[in-house]
């Protein structure tokens, strides 16, 4: 992959699809990424050659399945540089991971008057679970304000600790709307100084930038596998071992058990305590292939690519009459570009772009409070990933001109 030329369109079969006879320009990777051939093949290989349930089987197929399933965990540990064994808990994605923490940790650790700090740019997945547990436990939510330039107001953040008993801070690493990269190291340091825990929602960072969990040192870190080239229904929760150990199970059932009597049960060791029932085995095997793919692409280059494409797109589109951008001016490390065009509703823009084969996301992006802060009901979001290139930006640019034509924006 070299600057603005996509690394590898040919590796992604979906890019061969024609939409209304036109080339597909996929600019919605922040919702879910496309999958490379190697990931799809690893799933086919699993079902064709190693299909079995894991962990409890004495036979070869089951041992192979278990090995493949656990190998991904080892790869993730290395890729994200997590400190210890047993700290990576498979989940179906970030939403399930945040719910696990809010429910298992939150319901046993939060009390009347305790404060949960969120930010004004969170995805609903890192907001609603906290609202629910806060209501249940009498805890309070305080939001880090978003500045006019689309960043977290760190001064305000630090002030919160002066007057409140903060128990946990939960913020995203990269915003899925603005594309802002938040200073998570600083956020963690501040919280730890006051004995508060920190959960980082890495749904948008894991696919795009090198993430070193040992260095960031959060207590929890959540990832969606399906946004980083992996299969749908995959993701994980990283948790600090001592904390995970002290938490009760979240879901219960097969595999997470040590012994069960009619009255009682004792729990299996980490991470299995939190993985009840038959998991998405093939999915996690596929996630391992996704990690391999990202390693060979090189995360530094992936980051640079997303930044450059989103910057370049912003530059090109800035000539469009009435366009307004939300997010960092210099391009987003998350490859995200959100905008609105005066007189054109995002939905209409989305429909018209679609007719040109261009897939963008429109709406509130599961971040309604941020929309309110921006003073809009919705935005258009183009998100770029490793298979996008400069040609895709040009298609977007022509698409936007088609929008102006259809909606007669010029003649108003």
């Amino acid at each position: 992959m070299n600057s603005l030329s996509g690394c590898c369109k040919k590796d992604f079969p979906t890019l061969k699809v024609k939409v209304y006879g036109k080339r597909l320009v996929y600019l919605d990777s922040a919702a879910t990424s496309l999958k490379p051939e190697s990931v799809i093949e690893s799933i086919v290989d699993f079902y064709s050659n190693h299909n079995a349930n894991i962990h409890r089987g004495v036979y070869l197929l089951s041992q192979e399945a278990t090995e493949l399933y656990e190998k991904t965990r080892t790869k993730l540990k290395k890729f994200f540089n997590t400190p210890k064994e047993g700290e990576i808990i498979y989940t179906s994605g970030t939403t399930a991971a945040v719910n696990l923490v809010a429910s298992s940790w939150g319901r046993t650790s939060l009390g009347e008057g305790d404060v949960i700090v969120l930010s004004g740019m969170e995805h609903h997945s890192n907001m609603v679970p906290w609202q629910i547990v806060a209501r249940e436990k009498g805890a309070k939510l305080i939001y880090i304000p978003v500045t006019d330039s689309g960043e977290l107001d760190l001064e305000e953040y630090k002030l919160i600790f002066k007057n409140h008993s903060v128990k946990i801070v939960a913020v995203n690493h990269i915003s899925n709307v603005l594309g802002t990269l938040n200073p998570v190291e600083e956020i963690v340091r501040q919280a730890h100084r006051y004995g508060a825990l920190v959960l980082i929602d890495g749904a948008q960072s894991a696919p795009h930038i090198p993430v070193d969990i040992s260095r960031i040192d959060p207590d929890f870190y959540t990832v969606s596998g399906h946004k980083m080239l992996g299969p749908t229904g995959t993701g994980f929760l990283y948790g600090r071992k001592e904390i995970l150990k002290s938490m009760p199970p979240y879901q219960s059932g097969g595999d997470m058990i040590e012994e069960v009597s009619l009255k009682n049960a004792t729990w299996n060791e980490l991470p299995y305590k939190f993985e009840a029932g038959t998991q998405n085995i093939a999915g996690f095997v596929g996630l391992g292939a996704a990690v391999d793919y990202l390693i060979s692409a090189g995360m530094d280059r992936v980051r640079k690519h997303g930044e450059e494409l989103s910057m370049k797109a912003r530059e090109m589109l800035s000539s469009v009459k009435g366009i307004k951008f939300y997010g960092p001016e210099k391009g987003s490390p998350g490859g995200v570009l959100s905008f609105n065009i005066e007189g054109a509703h995002p939905h209409d823009i989305g429909t018209i772009l679609d007719s040109e084969g261009i897939a963008v996301r429109t709406g509130h992006h599961c971040a309604q409070p941020l929309m309110k802060r921006l003073g809009v009901a919705a935005t258009v979001r183009a998100s770029f990933y490793i298979y996008n290139d400069e040609q895709d930006i040009e298609s977007l640019y022509s698409g936007i001109h088609k929008v102006a034509e259809v909606l007669k924006l010029g003649v108003k």
Partner: protein, 142 residues
């Protein structure tokens, strides 16, 4: 899929210059409607005169389709009885789903322009949202 069928002149005009946009004083009934998938939302207020929808207004944020649909709806619904409105709602739903007979389309006036929506299933909800909201307003009992 013809974009020009969806974005007809009359729709763009209603969308940019909506009728009865605003609030009415002392409304008898009102309702709030939203589309969880896109965040569009409308507030509709009405004043009844016996069984008739005497006055109607709307405010809200939405795409061309939903806004034009709301604007045209206020035109069509004003002065109608509740029963007549339900009939109209039924026709309108059929229209945007592409299930309305040609001859029934004629009596719909401007509204007939929404027929183009039927080729865009994902946008059907946009067209219907104001109507569902008005229905809720009509059924609002304080």
């Amino acid at each position: 899929m013809e974009l020009s069928e969806l974005y007809r002149e009359v729709i763009l005009t209603h969308a940019t210059h909506p009728h009865h946009y605003g609030e009415i004083e002392n409304p008898d009934k009102k309702a709030h409607g939203s589309n969880p998938l896109c965040g569009d939302s409308f507030d509709i207020e009405i004043k009844m005169d016996g069984d008739k929808i005497a006055e109607i207004s709307f405010v809200g944020a939405g795409c061309s389709i939903s806004k034009a649909s709301a604007s045209m709806m206020t035109e069509m619904a004003r002065g109608k009885t509740v029963k007549e409105f339900y009939d109209l709602l039924d026709k309108m739903e059929k229209l945007v789903r592409g299930e309305l007979a040609e001859k029934d389309t004629e009596e719909l006036g401007d509204l007939a322009a929404l027929a183009g929506v039927s080729a865009f299933p994902i946008r059907v909800k946009c067209a219907i949202l104001p109507w569902k909201t008005l229905k809720n307003a009509v059924e609002d009992d304080g």
